[in-house]
């Protein structure tokens, strides 16, 4: 059952986002999903689409917080903000679909214009990084996600894996080297 415990302190909530607190993520994701699903199903969308839109919205809020592009005040309700982001993504999806249905697709004309080329280069690099990480071997993925997502200290990880901290540091380096070789 969904637990409706409200976050009292948005700054702390932001902190949770910056530190990748899985418990907080899970609660927020589950608490807000049903609302996203309801508006999408109501407009004849599918459950799979609701999942995709909600996850896209979650990732985009996460990125905004990481990049400090989200302004927060004491009365900011992040649950509502996430829901509004989902709604905006859903509206964008509907309008894209209606454009597709009314105009013939001409891929050559669909060039994304940005203020400068940097955004696209950085975005492409991030996509490459994600793809390279997806293709890493499982032990490397687990190690890197424990270190960089869960922020587990090297010494603690060494105990969990019954090894020395220096071994962990070297393994991490080897994994990053492999990842780096696939960035370009």
């Amino acid at each position: 059952m969904v637990k409706n415990i409200k976050f009292k302190n948005p700054t702390l909530f932001l902190d949770a986002f910056k530190n990748n607190n899985t418990n907080v993520f899970k609660r927020l994701y589950i608490e807000t999903y049903s609302k996203t699903e309801a508006i999408i199903l109501n407009k004849k969308g599918s459950v799979n689409l609701a999942k995709k839109i909600h996850q896209d919205a979650f990732l985009s809020v996460w990125m905004d917080i990481k990049n400090n592009t989200l302004s927060i005040s004491n009365d900011t309700d992040l649950e509502s903000y996430l829901f509004e982001t989902s709604k905006a993504k859903w509206m964008k999806h509907i309008s894209n679909e209606s454009v597709k249905n009314t105009k013939p697709t001409n891929k050559k004309k669909q060039t994304i214009i940005t203020k400068d080329g940097c955004f696209n280069i950085e975005n492409k690099k991030l996509k490459n990084a994600v793809k390279a990480y997806r293709n890493l071997k499982q032990p490397c993925r687990e190690l890197l996600s424990s270190i960089y997502f869960d922020r587990m200290p090297t010494e603690e990880l060494a105990i969990k894996l019954n090894t020395e901290a220096t071994v962990i540091k070297h393994q991490k380096y080897t994994c990053i080297e492999t990842l780096y070789s696939k960035l370009y």
Binding site: I5, F7, K26, Y29, Q55, L59, L126, L144, L161, L183
Partner: protein, 245 residues
């Protein structure tokens, strides 16, 4: 610009300290100076930032999929059985209202501390048992049981070892967690108390304090729960304290 993806382990560690903001002022100044004069170095720093962001982003996507699985599984559990589908609408409405009433009653009568505990308690993932050491084989066997969710079997095996080594922090810690996972909070507390009050430094001390705080939370002792959660540097501890205040 010529990009290079050759990076030394020392440089990786330095870039990480830079990203995390843990450099001292002198190192930070030198690092920033180097970024200004060497575009190739600057590009490497940016590359590492993007790589680390990529790791986090994909891990988060994996987690979101796991959360979604939980939603689907919960829905399946709440769905009426085939028999119920053949009942007429009136009966179906009665069954539905009973389910809703039961869940609502559960929600309103469940104290906040139990809800918080349920929300935040997740058993420790356990430790690696690859090392082939005759002395630790019993411990390792029990650890495998623990990892597979056979908490009772793991507890029984570890308690035999614990009688020989009552001051072993790792044993006390995992017996405590296994009791919590096995929903025997009262039994967990003495083992976790022993761990947090041991004299020497235990590497999982923050975790032990966190779990002890959670155990007291479940037992309804907010004072002791806050005490141990405040002592723990685990991130989730401060969120629980915030919600308790």
């Amino acid at each position: 610009m010529k990009y290079t993806n050759d990076i030394t382990q020392e440089l990786l560690e330095a870039i990480e300290r830079y990203i995390k903001g843990t450099m001292d002022s002198k190192e930070l100044k030198d690092f920033n100076d180097y970024i200004k004069i060497d575009p190739e170095f600057k590009a490497q720093v940016e590359d590492i930032k993007v790589l680390l962001l990529g790791i986090e982003k994909q891990t988060l996507e994996d987690k979101l999929n796991e959360f979604h699985e939980d939603i689907i599984n919960n829905k399946k559990q709440l769905q009426p059985s085939l028999k119920v589908q053949f009942l007429n609408h009136n009966k179906l409405a009665i069954v539905a209202s009973i389910i809703v009433a039961t869940l609502s009653i559960w929600y309103f009568i469940t104290p906040k501390n139990i809800k918080l505990y349920d929300n935040y308690f997740k058993p420790d993932i356990g430790i690696n048992t690859n090392i082939k050491d005759a002395n630790s084989s019993d411990f390792n066997d029990a650890m495998e049981k623990y990892k597979n969710g056979n908490y009772k079997i793991a507890i029984d095996a570890w308690q035999i070892l614990s009688e020989r080594k009552p001051k072993n922090d790792t044993l006390n810690y995992f017996i405590g967690i296994a009791h919590l996972a096995n929903k025997k909070t009262k039994k967990a507390i003495p083992f976790l108390e022993r761990t947090v009050h041991s004299n020497h430094t235990f590497a999982l001390m923050d975790n032990a304090r966190y779990y002890l705080g959670l155990a007291y939370l479940k037992e309804g002792n907010s004072h002791l729960a806050k005490k141990y959660l405040k002592l723990s540097r685990i991130d989730s501890a401060k969120y629980i304290i915030n919600e308790l205040n």
